[in-house]
Amino acid sequence: MLKNHYIQRFLKGWKIFIQNPLGKMGVVILVVFMLMALASFFVPHINPMYDPMTGIDPDIKISTGPSLTHLLGTDNVGRDLFAQLLEGAKVAFIVGLSSAFFSIVIGTVIGMVSGYAGGMVDTILMRMADIIMVMPSLVILLILSSLFGQFNIWIIVFIIAIMRWPAVSRVIRSQTLSLKHRPFIEASRVAGASHLRIIFRHIMPNVLPLAFLYMTFRVTSAILVEAALSFLGFGDPSQVSWGMMLQWVWKSGHMFQAPYWLIPPGVSISLLTLSFYMLGRAMDEVLDPRLRKEGQS
Protein backbone atom coordinates (compact mmCIF):
# COMPACT_ATOMS: atom_id res chain seq x y z
CA MET A 1 0.00 0.00 0.00
CA LEU A 2 2.72 2.42 1.10
CA LYS A 3 5.02 1.27 -1.68
CA ASN A 4 2.27 1.91 -4.16
CA HIS A 5 1.95 5.46 -2.93
CA TYR A 6 5.63 6.15 -3.47
CA ILE A 7 5.54 4.66 -6.94
CA GLN A 8 2.58 6.80 -7.85
CA ARG A 9 4.28 9.90 -6.54
CA PHE A 10 7.37 9.04 -8.52
CA LEU A 11 5.40 8.48 -11.72
CA LYS A 12 3.59 11.77 -11.31
CA GLY A 13 6.88 13.56 -10.76
CA TRP A 14 8.45 11.79 -13.70
CA LYS A 15 5.66 12.97 -15.99
CA ILE A 16 6.23 16.60 -15.08
CA PHE A 17 9.95 16.05 -15.27
CA ILE A 18 9.98 14.62 -18.76
CA GLN A 19 7.67 17.33 -20.08
CA ASN A 20 10.31 19.88 -19.24
CA PRO A 21 12.57 20.46 -22.27
CA LEU A 22 15.63 20.82 -20.04
CA GLY A 23 14.84 17.55 -18.32
CA LYS A 24 14.38 15.75 -21.60
CA MET A 25 17.65 17.05 -23.00
CA GLY A 26 19.46 16.21 -19.79
CA VAL A 27 18.20 12.64 -19.77
CA VAL A 28 19.19 12.08 -23.39
CA ILE A 29 22.74 13.35 -22.90
CA LEU A 30 23.05 11.38 -19.69
CA VAL A 31 21.96 8.14 -21.37
CA VAL A 32 24.55 8.66 -24.11
CA PHE A 33 27.31 9.08 -21.56
CA MET A 34 26.08 6.08 -19.58
CA LEU A 35 26.32 3.97 -22.72
CA MET A 36 29.83 5.29 -23.26
CA ALA A 37 30.77 4.38 -19.71
CA LEU A 38 29.35 0.88 -20.20
CA ALA A 39 31.18 0.49 -23.50
CA SER A 40 34.47 1.18 -21.75
CA PHE A 41 34.20 -2.26 -20.14
CA PHE A 42 34.02 -4.04 -23.51
CA VAL A 43 36.39 -2.08 -25.69
CA PRO A 44 39.66 -3.54 -24.33
CA HIS A 45 38.30 -7.06 -25.04
CA ILE A 46 37.94 -6.32 -28.75
CA ASN A 47 41.62 -5.76 -29.11
CA PRO A 48 44.21 -5.29 -26.32
CA MET A 49 45.53 -2.18 -28.08
CA TYR A 50 42.29 -0.44 -27.16
CA ASP A 51 43.13 -0.57 -23.49
CA PRO A 52 43.00 3.09 -22.44
CA MET A 53 46.05 2.98 -20.19
CA THR A 54 48.39 0.30 -21.46
CA GLY A 55 47.18 -0.49 -25.00
CA ILE A 56 49.64 0.75 -27.60
CA ASP A 57 49.20 0.41 -31.32
CA PRO A 58 52.51 -1.15 -32.44
CA ASP A 59 52.37 0.59 -35.85
CA ILE A 60 52.02 4.09 -34.47
CA LYS A 61 54.81 6.09 -32.89
CA ILE A 62 53.39 9.62 -32.97
CA SER A 63 49.99 11.20 -32.44
CA THR A 64 47.80 10.56 -35.47
CA GLY A 65 44.44 11.93 -36.51
CA PRO A 66 41.13 10.05 -36.74
CA SER A 67 41.10 6.87 -38.84
CA LEU A 68 39.03 3.70 -39.08
CA THR A 69 41.07 1.75 -36.55
CA HIS A 70 41.29 4.72 -34.21
CA LEU A 71 38.05 6.67 -34.36
CA LEU A 72 39.44 9.75 -32.68
CA GLY A 73 43.09 9.15 -33.45
CA THR A 74 45.86 8.28 -31.03
CA ASP A 75 47.99 10.13 -28.50
CA ASN A 76 51.74 10.55 -28.80
CA VAL A 77 52.57 7.02 -27.66
CA GLY A 78 49.93 5.31 -29.79
CA ARG A 79 47.08 4.86 -27.34
CA ASP A 80 43.56 5.05 -28.71
CA LEU A 81 41.87 8.33 -27.83
CA PHE A 82 38.33 7.01 -28.23
CA ALA A 83 39.01 4.25 -25.73
CA GLN A 84 40.39 6.87 -23.34
CA LEU A 85 37.29 8.99 -23.84
CA LEU A 86 35.05 6.03 -22.95
CA GLU A 87 37.16 5.26 -19.89
CA GLY A 88 36.95 8.94 -18.93
CA ALA A 89 33.16 8.74 -18.97
CA LYS A 90 33.33 5.85 -16.51
CA VAL A 91 35.70 7.72 -14.20
CA ALA A 92 33.56 10.87 -14.38
CA PHE A 93 30.48 8.93 -13.36
CA ILE A 94 32.32 7.23 -10.50
CA VAL A 95 33.79 10.49 -9.23
CA GLY A 96 30.68 12.58 -9.74
CA LEU A 97 28.08 10.21 -8.36
CA SER A 98 30.02 8.81 -5.44
CA SER A 99 31.35 12.12 -4.17
CA ALA A 100 27.92 13.71 -4.60
CA PHE A 101 26.42 10.79 -2.70
CA PHE A 102 28.88 11.13 0.19
CA SER A 103 28.41 14.88 0.41
CA ILE A 104 24.64 14.48 0.37
CA VAL A 105 24.78 11.92 3.16
CA ILE A 106 27.03 14.11 5.30
CA GLY A 107 25.11 17.27 4.47
CA THR A 108 21.69 15.77 5.10
CA VAL A 109 22.61 14.24 8.44
CA ILE A 110 24.35 17.38 9.66
CA GLY A 111 21.56 19.61 8.36
CA MET A 112 18.84 17.54 10.03
CA VAL A 113 20.67 17.26 13.34
CA SER A 114 21.54 20.94 13.31
CA GLY A 115 18.02 22.05 12.51
CA TYR A 116 16.39 19.62 14.91
CA ALA A 117 18.72 20.15 17.84
CA GLY A 118 19.08 23.92 17.58
CA GLY A 119 21.02 25.88 20.20
CA MET A 120 24.73 25.35 20.64
CA VAL A 121 24.93 22.29 18.39
CA ASP A 122 23.30 24.25 15.61
CA THR A 123 25.67 27.20 16.01
CA ILE A 124 28.81 25.10 16.03
CA LEU A 125 27.79 22.95 13.07
CA MET A 126 26.73 25.92 10.97
CA ARG A 127 29.89 27.92 11.71
CA MET A 128 31.86 24.90 10.63
CA ALA A 129 29.79 24.81 7.46
CA ASP A 130 30.51 28.50 6.86
CA ILE A 131 34.25 27.98 7.11
CA ILE A 132 34.25 25.04 4.74
CA MET A 133 31.83 26.70 2.33
CA VAL A 134 34.12 29.63 1.53
CA MET A 135 37.18 27.46 0.96
CA PRO A 136 38.18 26.89 -2.64
CA SER A 137 38.16 23.11 -2.91
CA LEU A 138 40.69 22.88 -5.73
CA VAL A 139 43.27 24.87 -3.77
CA ILE A 140 42.74 22.69 -0.69
CA LEU A 141 43.16 19.54 -2.75
CA LEU A 142 46.34 20.94 -4.26
CA ILE A 143 47.85 21.73 -0.86
CA LEU A 144 46.86 18.36 0.57
CA SER A 145 48.25 16.42 -2.34
CA SER A 146 51.54 18.30 -2.14
CA LEU A 147 51.80 17.38 1.53
CA PHE A 148 50.64 13.78 1.35
CA GLY A 149 51.74 12.81 -2.12
CA GLN A 150 49.57 11.78 -5.05
CA PHE A 151 46.09 10.69 -4.03
CA ASN A 152 44.14 7.61 -4.91
CA ILE A 153 40.90 8.39 -6.77
CA TRP A 154 38.76 7.42 -3.76
CA ILE A 155 40.58 9.79 -1.47
CA ILE A 156 40.00 12.58 -4.00
CA VAL A 157 36.32 11.66 -4.10
CA PHE A 158 36.12 11.74 -0.35
CA ILE A 159 37.89 15.09 0.01
CA ILE A 160 35.59 16.65 -2.58
CA ALA A 161 32.63 15.29 -0.64
CA ILE A 162 33.94 16.77 2.59
CA MET A 163 34.46 20.13 0.93
CA ARG A 164 31.01 20.15 -0.56
CA TRP A 165 28.47 19.28 2.13
CA PRO A 166 27.90 22.74 3.67
CA ALA A 167 25.55 24.14 1.04
CA VAL A 168 23.44 20.97 1.26
CA SER A 169 23.28 21.08 5.02
CA ARG A 170 22.15 24.71 4.96
CA VAL A 171 19.19 23.87 2.74
CA ILE A 172 18.29 20.73 4.67
CA ARG A 173 18.56 22.63 7.94
CA SER A 174 16.10 25.30 6.89
CA GLN A 175 13.71 22.63 5.64
CA THR A 176 14.05 20.78 8.94
CA LEU A 177 13.36 23.99 10.86
CA SER A 178 10.08 24.41 9.03
CA LEU A 179 9.15 20.75 9.59
CA LYS A 180 10.08 20.72 13.26
CA HIS A 181 6.94 22.45 14.46
CA ARG A 182 4.45 20.71 12.22
CA PRO A 183 1.73 18.77 14.03
CA PHE A 184 2.87 15.33 12.83
CA ILE A 185 6.29 15.77 14.42
CA GLU A 186 4.74 16.94 17.65
CA ALA A 187 2.31 14.04 17.54
CA SER A 188 5.12 11.53 17.21
CA ARG A 189 6.97 13.18 20.06
CA VAL A 190 3.90 12.90 22.24
CA ALA A 191 3.60 9.26 21.20
CA GLY A 192 7.05 8.76 22.70
CA ALA A 193 9.29 8.53 19.65
CA SER A 194 12.98 9.09 20.35
CA HIS A 195 14.87 11.98 18.75
CA LEU A 196 16.72 9.64 16.43
CA ARG A 197 13.49 8.05 15.31
CA ILE A 198 11.89 11.43 14.65
CA ILE A 199 14.89 12.61 12.65
CA PHE A 200 15.36 9.52 10.53
CA ARG A 201 11.81 8.20 10.29
CA HIS A 202 9.73 11.37 10.09
CA ILE A 203 11.93 14.24 8.99
CA MET A 204 14.23 12.42 6.59
CA PRO A 205 11.55 11.26 4.10
CA ASN A 206 10.44 14.88 3.82
CA VAL A 207 13.86 16.33 3.12
CA LEU A 208 15.17 13.55 0.86
CA PRO A 209 13.72 14.94 -2.39
CA LEU A 210 15.51 18.20 -1.74
CA ALA A 211 18.71 16.29 -0.99
CA PHE A 212 18.41 14.49 -4.32
CA LEU A 213 17.96 17.79 -6.08
CA TYR A 214 21.18 19.05 -4.54
CA MET A 215 22.92 15.85 -5.46
CA THR A 216 22.67 16.72 -9.15
CA PHE A 217 24.42 20.04 -8.53
CA ARG A 218 27.08 18.34 -6.44
CA VAL A 219 27.78 15.89 -9.25
CA THR A 220 28.49 18.83 -11.53
CA SER A 221 30.98 20.47 -9.22
CA ALA A 222 32.67 17.20 -8.27
CA ILE A 223 33.33 16.32 -11.91
CA LEU A 224 34.73 19.77 -12.60
CA VAL A 225 37.01 19.74 -9.56
CA GLU A 226 38.37 16.28 -10.30
CA ALA A 227 38.98 17.25 -13.92
CA ALA A 228 40.80 20.42 -12.87
CA LEU A 229 42.93 18.48 -10.40
CA SER A 230 43.88 15.87 -12.98
CA PHE A 231 44.55 18.59 -15.50
CA LEU A 232 47.09 20.18 -13.18
CA GLY A 233 48.80 16.81 -12.78
CA PHE A 234 47.61 15.96 -9.29
CA GLY A 235 45.04 13.34 -10.22
CA ASP A 236 45.22 9.61 -9.64
CA PRO A 237 47.91 8.50 -12.10
CA SER A 238 46.30 5.08 -12.53
CA GLN A 239 43.02 6.48 -13.86
CA VAL A 240 42.32 7.83 -17.31
CA SER A 241 39.98 10.72 -16.68
CA TRP A 242 39.06 13.49 -19.08
CA GLY A 243 41.10 15.94 -17.06
CA MET A 244 44.04 13.56 -17.38
CA MET A 245 43.64 13.44 -21.16
CA LEU A 246 43.75 17.22 -21.28
CA GLN A 247 46.80 17.21 -19.03
CA TRP A 248 48.54 14.82 -21.46
CA VAL A 249 47.71 16.90 -24.51
CA TRP A 250 48.91 20.01 -22.75
CA LYS A 251 52.08 18.58 -21.23
CA SER A 252 53.11 16.75 -24.40
CA GLY A 253 52.84 20.04 -26.30
CA HIS A 254 50.22 18.75 -28.72
CA MET A 255 47.53 21.27 -27.93
CA PHE A 256 48.15 23.29 -31.09
CA GLN A 257 48.81 20.29 -33.32
CA ALA A 258 46.10 17.87 -32.30
CA PRO A 259 42.60 19.36 -32.14
CA TYR A 260 41.17 15.80 -32.35
CA TRP A 261 42.88 15.21 -29.02
CA LEU A 262 42.13 18.57 -27.38
CA ILE A 263 38.46 19.00 -28.21
CA PRO A 264 36.61 15.74 -27.27
CA PRO A 265 37.50 15.56 -23.55
CA GLY A 266 36.54 19.17 -22.93
CA VAL A 267 33.28 18.85 -24.81
CA SER A 268 32.50 15.70 -22.84
CA ILE A 269 33.15 17.37 -19.48
CA SER A 270 30.96 20.31 -20.38
CA LEU A 271 28.15 18.19 -21.79
CA LEU A 272 28.06 15.79 -18.87
CA THR A 273 28.05 18.53 -16.26
CA LEU A 274 25.47 20.41 -18.31
CA SER A 275 23.21 17.37 -18.40
CA PHE A 276 23.37 16.92 -14.63
CA TYR A 277 22.66 20.59 -14.20
CA MET A 278 19.64 20.37 -16.49
CA LEU A 279 18.36 17.37 -14.54
CA GLY A 280 18.64 19.43 -11.39
CA ARG A 281 16.76 22.32 -12.90
CA ALA A 282 13.97 20.05 -14.15
CA MET A 283 13.79 18.30 -10.79
CA ASP A 284 13.54 21.69 -9.14
CA GLU A 285 10.31 22.22 -11.05
CA VAL A 286 8.92 18.88 -9.93
CA LEU A 287 9.64 19.70 -6.31
CA ASP A 288 8.57 23.33 -6.40
CA PRO A 289 5.08 23.71 -7.86
CA ARG A 290 5.47 27.49 -7.83
CA LEU A 291 8.17 27.28 -10.46
CA ARG A 292 6.05 24.90 -12.50
CA LYS A 293 3.10 27.19 -12.78
CA GLU A 294 5.36 29.98 -13.79
CA GLY A 295 6.93 27.81 -16.45
CA GLN A 296 3.58 26.91 -17.99
CA SER A 297 2.06 30.38 -18.07
Binding site: R127, D130, I131, M133, V134, M135, P136, S137, L138, V139, L142, I143, L144, S145, S146, L147, F148, G149, A167, R170, V171, F217, T220, S221, L224, V225, A227, A228, F231, L232, G233, F234, L246, W250, M255, F256, P259, L262, I263, P265, G266, I269, S270, T273, L274, Y277, M278, E294
Partner: protein, 332 residues
Amino acid sequence: MRNQTYILGKLVEITIIFFVIMTALFFLFRLSPGDPISKVADPMLTPEDMRYIIEQMGLDKPIWEQYVIYLKNFFTGNFGVSFHYGEPVFKIIRERLGWTVLLFTSSTILAAFAGVFLGKIAAWNKGSRLDNVLSISALVCYTLFIPWFALLLLWVFGFKLGLFPLGGILSPELWVGNASWFVRMLDILHHMLLPLMTLFVIHLGSYLLLMRSSMLSVLREDYIITARAKGLSERVIRNKHAAKNAALPVVTSVGLSLAFSINGGALTEQIFTWPGIGRELIFAVSNNDYPLAQACFLLIALVVCWPIWLWIFSMPIWIRGLPIEPQGMVLE
Protein backbone atom coordinates in the same frame (compact mmCIF):
# COMPACT_ATOMS: atom_id res chain seq x y z
CA MET B 1 22.56 50.00 16.94
CA ARG B 2 21.28 46.74 15.61
CA ASN B 3 23.61 47.05 12.69
CA GLN B 4 26.58 47.77 14.88
CA THR B 5 26.17 44.68 17.01
CA TYR B 6 25.59 42.70 13.84
CA ILE B 7 28.79 43.99 12.28
CA LEU B 8 30.72 43.38 15.47
CA GLY B 9 29.45 39.84 15.57
CA LYS B 10 30.54 39.29 11.99
CA LEU B 11 33.99 40.70 12.70
CA VAL B 12 34.46 38.32 15.61
CA GLU B 13 33.28 35.51 13.37
CA ILE B 14 35.80 36.33 10.65
CA THR B 15 38.62 36.51 13.16
CA ILE B 16 37.69 33.11 14.55
CA ILE B 17 37.38 31.63 11.08
CA PHE B 18 40.77 32.92 10.11
CA PHE B 19 42.39 31.59 13.25
CA VAL B 20 40.86 28.19 12.68
CA ILE B 21 42.22 28.15 9.14
CA MET B 22 45.68 29.23 10.28
CA THR B 23 45.77 26.64 13.02
CA ALA B 24 44.57 23.89 10.72
CA LEU B 25 47.26 24.83 8.22
CA PHE B 26 49.95 24.82 10.89
CA PHE B 27 49.07 21.35 12.09
CA LEU B 28 48.67 20.03 8.57
CA PHE B 29 52.17 21.14 7.67
CA ARG B 30 53.68 19.84 10.89
CA LEU B 31 51.88 16.53 11.07
CA SER B 32 52.02 15.46 7.44
CA PRO B 33 54.35 12.58 6.65
CA GLY B 34 58.01 13.35 6.23
CA ASP B 35 60.53 15.45 8.09
CA PRO B 36 58.89 18.59 9.49
CA ILE B 37 62.11 20.55 9.08
CA SER B 38 62.01 19.88 5.35
CA LYS B 39 58.66 21.70 5.25
CA VAL B 40 60.16 24.91 6.57
CA ALA B 41 63.79 24.95 5.55
CA ASP B 42 65.22 24.13 2.16
CA PRO B 43 66.89 20.70 2.37
CA MET B 44 69.63 22.02 0.07
CA LEU B 45 70.86 24.57 2.63
CA THR B 46 74.20 24.32 4.39
CA PRO B 47 74.06 23.01 7.98
CA GLU B 48 74.78 26.49 9.42
CA ASP B 49 71.93 28.14 7.53
CA MET B 50 69.74 25.21 8.45
CA ARG B 51 70.49 25.65 12.12
CA TYR B 52 69.75 29.35 11.84
CA ILE B 53 66.33 28.69 10.33
CA ILE B 54 65.56 25.94 12.81
CA GLU B 55 66.31 28.36 15.61
CA GLN B 56 64.35 31.16 14.02
CA MET B 57 61.28 28.99 13.48
CA GLY B 58 61.72 27.25 16.82
CA LEU B 59 61.69 23.78 15.30
CA ASP B 60 63.66 22.37 18.21
CA LYS B 61 61.00 23.48 20.67
CA PRO B 62 57.74 21.74 21.63
CA ILE B 63 54.89 22.06 19.19
CA TRP B 64 52.81 24.64 21.06
CA GLU B 65 55.82 26.96 21.23
CA GLN B 66 56.29 26.47 17.52
CA TYR B 67 52.70 27.50 17.08
CA VAL B 68 53.24 30.74 19.00
CA ILE B 69 56.31 31.49 16.88
CA TYR B 70 54.29 30.73 13.76
CA LEU B 71 51.62 33.23 14.78
CA LYS B 72 54.25 35.84 15.64
CA ASN B 73 55.94 35.34 12.29
CA PHE B 74 52.65 35.66 10.53
CA PHE B 75 51.81 38.99 12.08
CA THR B 76 55.24 40.40 11.41
CA GLY B 77 55.00 39.31 7.77
CA ASN B 78 57.80 36.76 8.05
CA PHE B 79 56.71 33.76 6.00
CA GLY B 80 60.13 32.25 5.55
CA VAL B 81 62.24 31.91 2.44
CA SER B 82 61.06 30.30 -0.77
CA PHE B 83 63.07 27.18 -1.67
CA HIS B 84 62.92 27.83 -5.35
CA TYR B 85 63.49 31.58 -5.59
CA GLY B 86 65.71 31.93 -2.53
CA GLU B 87 63.92 35.15 -1.69
CA PRO B 88 61.59 36.05 1.17
CA VAL B 89 58.12 34.74 0.44
CA PHE B 90 56.60 38.06 1.41
CA LYS B 91 58.44 39.83 -1.42
CA ILE B 92 57.37 37.27 -4.02
CA ILE B 93 53.75 37.47 -2.94
CA ARG B 94 53.81 41.25 -3.04
CA GLU B 95 55.09 41.18 -6.61
CA ARG B 96 52.45 38.69 -7.78
CA LEU B 97 49.48 40.09 -5.96
CA GLY B 98 48.99 43.12 -8.20
CA TRP B 99 48.69 41.01 -11.34
CA THR B 100 46.08 38.75 -9.81
CA VAL B 101 44.07 41.67 -8.50
CA LEU B 102 44.18 43.36 -11.90
CA LEU B 103 42.92 40.31 -13.76
CA PHE B 104 40.45 39.31 -11.12
CA THR B 105 38.70 42.58 -10.43
CA SER B 106 38.45 43.64 -14.04
CA SER B 107 36.95 40.33 -15.14
CA THR B 108 34.56 40.14 -12.18
CA ILE B 109 33.31 43.70 -12.60
CA LEU B 110 32.85 43.33 -16.34
CA ALA B 111 31.06 40.00 -15.95
CA ALA B 112 28.80 41.31 -13.19
CA PHE B 113 27.74 44.30 -15.26
CA ALA B 114 27.16 42.24 -18.37
CA GLY B 115 25.37 39.56 -16.36
CA VAL B 116 23.04 42.06 -14.72
CA PHE B 117 22.29 43.71 -18.04
CA LEU B 118 21.66 40.51 -19.99
CA GLY B 119 19.83 38.84 -17.12
CA LYS B 120 17.51 41.82 -16.92
CA ILE B 121 16.70 41.56 -20.61
CA ALA B 122 16.21 37.79 -20.40
CA ALA B 123 13.81 38.04 -17.47
CA TRP B 124 11.92 40.92 -19.04
CA ASN B 125 11.35 38.97 -22.24
CA LYS B 126 10.65 35.73 -20.41
CA GLY B 127 9.69 32.82 -22.62
CA SER B 128 10.75 34.57 -25.82
CA ARG B 129 13.39 33.19 -28.13
CA LEU B 130 15.87 35.76 -26.88
CA ASP B 131 15.38 34.53 -23.32
CA ASN B 132 15.89 30.92 -24.38
CA VAL B 133 19.08 31.74 -26.26
CA LEU B 134 20.46 33.77 -23.38
CA SER B 135 19.57 31.19 -20.72
CA ILE B 136 20.95 28.25 -22.63
CA SER B 137 24.20 30.03 -23.46
CA ALA B 138 24.51 31.10 -19.84
CA LEU B 139 24.09 27.46 -18.81
CA VAL B 140 26.77 26.42 -21.26
CA CYS B 141 29.11 29.14 -19.97
CA TYR B 142 28.46 27.99 -16.44
CA THR B 143 29.40 24.37 -17.10
CA LEU B 144 32.40 25.04 -19.33
CA PHE B 145 35.58 23.39 -18.15
CA ILE B 146 37.79 26.41 -17.54
CA PRO B 147 41.25 25.14 -18.54
CA TRP B 148 39.86 23.54 -21.65
CA PHE B 149 38.09 26.71 -22.68
CA ALA B 150 41.28 28.67 -22.04
CA LEU B 151 43.29 26.26 -24.18
CA LEU B 152 40.71 26.51 -26.92
CA LEU B 153 40.86 30.31 -26.90
CA LEU B 154 44.63 30.12 -26.94
CA TRP B 155 44.55 27.72 -29.84
CA VAL B 156 42.08 29.71 -31.95
CA PHE B 157 43.05 33.32 -31.22
CA GLY B 158 46.65 32.88 -30.19
CA PHE B 159 47.89 30.17 -32.50
CA LYS B 160 45.58 29.92 -35.52
CA LEU B 161 44.74 33.59 -35.96
CA GLY B 162 47.86 34.93 -34.27
CA LEU B 163 45.96 37.85 -32.81
CA PHE B 164 47.18 37.49 -29.26
CA PRO B 165 50.40 36.45 -27.53
CA LEU B 166 50.50 32.92 -26.10
CA GLY B 167 51.20 33.97 -22.53
CA GLY B 168 53.02 36.25 -20.15
CA ILE B 169 52.27 39.87 -19.41
CA LEU B 170 54.72 41.91 -21.45
CA SER B 171 56.52 41.38 -24.73
CA PRO B 172 60.21 40.64 -24.14
CA GLU B 173 61.42 43.61 -26.21
CA LEU B 174 59.49 45.95 -23.95
CA TRP B 175 61.11 44.53 -20.82
CA VAL B 176 64.52 45.82 -21.81
CA GLY B 177 63.77 48.72 -24.13
CA ASN B 178 62.82 52.11 -22.78
CA ALA B 179 59.30 52.16 -24.15
CA SER B 180 56.89 54.72 -22.76
CA TRP B 181 54.45 53.65 -20.08
CA PHE B 182 51.58 54.05 -22.51
CA VAL B 183 53.01 51.49 -24.93
CA ARG B 184 53.69 49.16 -22.02
CA MET B 185 50.16 49.53 -20.77
CA LEU B 186 48.73 48.74 -24.16
CA ASP B 187 50.97 45.69 -24.38
CA ILE B 188 49.83 44.46 -20.98
CA LEU B 189 46.25 44.96 -22.07
CA HIS B 190 46.95 42.99 -25.21
CA HIS B 191 48.33 40.14 -23.10
CA MET B 192 45.46 40.37 -20.67
CA LEU B 193 42.64 40.12 -23.15
CA LEU B 194 42.52 36.32 -23.52
CA PRO B 195 42.67 35.47 -19.80
CA LEU B 196 40.18 38.25 -19.21
CA MET B 197 37.86 36.77 -21.79
CA THR B 198 38.13 33.31 -20.20
CA LEU B 199 37.23 34.54 -16.74
CA PHE B 200 34.57 36.85 -18.12
CA VAL B 201 32.76 34.06 -19.95
CA ILE B 202 32.97 31.70 -17.00
CA HIS B 203 31.52 34.25 -14.57
CA LEU B 204 29.01 35.72 -16.95
CA GLY B 205 26.91 32.56 -16.98
CA SER B 206 26.30 32.40 -13.26
CA TYR B 207 25.64 36.13 -12.92
CA LEU B 208 23.21 36.08 -15.80
CA LEU B 209 21.22 33.16 -14.42
CA LEU B 210 21.18 34.64 -10.96
CA MET B 211 20.04 38.03 -12.21
CA ARG B 212 17.36 36.40 -14.33
CA SER B 213 15.84 34.41 -11.48
CA SER B 214 16.11 37.32 -9.06
CA MET B 215 14.50 39.69 -11.57
CA LEU B 216 11.68 37.21 -12.19
CA SER B 217 10.86 37.07 -8.51
CA VAL B 218 11.02 40.86 -8.20
CA LEU B 219 8.65 41.26 -11.13
CA ARG B 220 6.03 39.31 -9.19
CA GLU B 221 6.10 41.83 -6.34
CA ASP B 222 3.17 44.06 -5.66
CA TYR B 223 5.07 47.29 -6.02
CA ILE B 224 5.67 46.51 -9.68
CA ILE B 225 1.91 46.32 -10.15
CA THR B 226 1.62 49.61 -8.28
CA ALA B 227 4.16 51.16 -10.58
CA ARG B 228 2.18 49.96 -13.60
CA ALA B 229 -1.03 51.27 -12.09
CA LYS B 230 0.59 54.65 -11.62
CA GLY B 231 1.11 54.66 -15.36
CA LEU B 232 4.91 54.63 -15.33
CA SER B 233 6.53 53.68 -18.60
CA GLU B 234 7.66 50.09 -18.97
CA ARG B 235 11.26 51.20 -19.32
CA VAL B 236 11.23 53.04 -16.03
CA ILE B 237 9.65 50.04 -14.32
CA ARG B 238 12.23 47.70 -15.77
CA ASN B 239 15.33 49.76 -15.12
CA LYS B 240 14.47 51.78 -12.04
CA HIS B 241 12.04 49.66 -10.07
CA ALA B 242 12.81 46.06 -10.89
CA ALA B 243 16.44 45.83 -11.97
CA LYS B 244 17.84 47.87 -9.09
CA ASN B 245 16.35 45.59 -6.48
CA ALA B 246 17.02 42.46 -8.45
CA ALA B 247 20.72 43.27 -8.77
CA LEU B 248 21.29 43.03 -5.03
CA PRO B 249 21.69 39.24 -4.84
CA VAL B 250 24.11 39.42 -7.73
CA VAL B 251 26.24 41.89 -5.82
CA THR B 252 26.35 39.67 -2.75
CA SER B 253 27.01 36.61 -4.86
CA VAL B 254 30.08 38.28 -6.35
CA GLY B 255 31.53 37.96 -2.90
CA LEU B 256 30.10 34.59 -2.01
CA SER B 257 31.21 32.91 -5.21
CA LEU B 258 34.79 33.92 -4.62
CA ALA B 259 35.87 30.39 -3.72
CA PHE B 260 34.67 29.26 -7.11
CA SER B 261 36.40 32.18 -8.81
CA ILE B 262 39.68 31.45 -7.10
CA ASN B 263 39.74 27.92 -8.49
CA GLY B 264 39.05 29.31 -11.94
CA GLY B 265 41.51 32.14 -11.56
CA ALA B 266 44.33 29.78 -10.63
CA LEU B 267 43.65 27.57 -13.64
CA THR B 268 43.44 30.54 -16.00
CA GLU B 269 46.66 32.05 -14.69
CA GLN B 270 48.35 28.70 -15.07
CA ILE B 271 47.43 28.35 -18.72
CA PHE B 272 48.17 31.88 -19.81
CA THR B 273 51.36 31.94 -17.69
CA TRP B 274 49.98 35.01 -15.98
CA PRO B 275 52.34 35.69 -13.03
CA GLY B 276 49.71 35.84 -10.30
CA ILE B 277 49.12 34.22 -6.93
CA GLY B 278 47.19 31.27 -8.34
CA ARG B 279 49.94 30.25 -10.70
CA GLU B 280 52.50 30.74 -7.96
CA LEU B 281 50.50 28.44 -5.71
CA ILE B 282 50.31 25.72 -8.34
CA PHE B 283 54.01 26.14 -9.00
CA ALA B 284 54.86 25.98 -5.29
CA VAL B 285 52.71 22.90 -4.81
CA SER B 286 54.25 21.12 -7.79
CA ASN B 287 57.77 21.85 -6.58
CA ASN B 288 57.20 21.22 -2.87
CA ASP B 289 58.08 24.83 -2.10
CA TYR B 290 56.27 24.64 1.24
CA PRO B 291 56.80 28.16 2.64
CA LEU B 292 55.55 29.70 -0.58
CA ALA B 293 52.56 27.35 -0.78
CA GLN B 294 51.64 28.05 2.80
CA ALA B 295 51.80 31.82 2.35
CA CYS B 296 49.78 31.69 -0.87
CA PHE B 297 47.16 29.63 0.86
CA LEU B 298 46.95 31.97 3.84
CA LEU B 299 46.55 34.87 1.48
CA ILE B 300 43.71 33.09 -0.29
CA ALA B 301 42.09 32.32 3.05
CA LEU B 302 42.32 36.00 3.91
CA VAL B 303 40.80 36.86 0.57
CA VAL B 304 37.88 34.46 0.91
CA CYS B 305 37.08 36.15 4.20
CA TRP B 306 37.43 39.53 2.53
CA PRO B 307 34.07 39.64 0.72
CA ILE B 308 32.45 39.30 4.10
CA TRP B 309 34.34 42.44 5.12
CA LEU B 310 33.25 44.31 2.06
CA TRP B 311 29.74 43.12 2.52
CA ILE B 312 29.68 44.26 6.14
CA PHE B 313 30.92 47.72 5.42
CA SER B 314 28.84 48.40 2.39
CA MET B 315 25.66 46.88 3.75
CA PRO B 316 24.42 49.84 5.80
CA ILE B 317 24.99 52.09 2.80
CA TRP B 318 22.96 49.97 0.44
CA ILE B 319 20.18 48.92 2.61
CA ARG B 320 19.98 51.81 5.05
CA GLY B 321 19.55 49.92 8.23
CA LEU B 322 17.74 46.88 7.00
CA PRO B 323 19.44 43.77 8.30
CA ILE B 324 19.41 41.30 5.44
CA GLU B 325 20.55 37.75 5.31
CA PRO B 326 22.88 36.94 2.45
CA GLN B 327 20.93 35.35 -0.34
CA GLY B 328 22.06 31.80 -0.76
CA MET B 329 23.75 31.41 -4.08
CA VAL B 330 21.29 29.91 -6.49
CA LEU B 331 24.08 28.24 -8.39
CA GLU B 332 26.34 26.28 -6.16
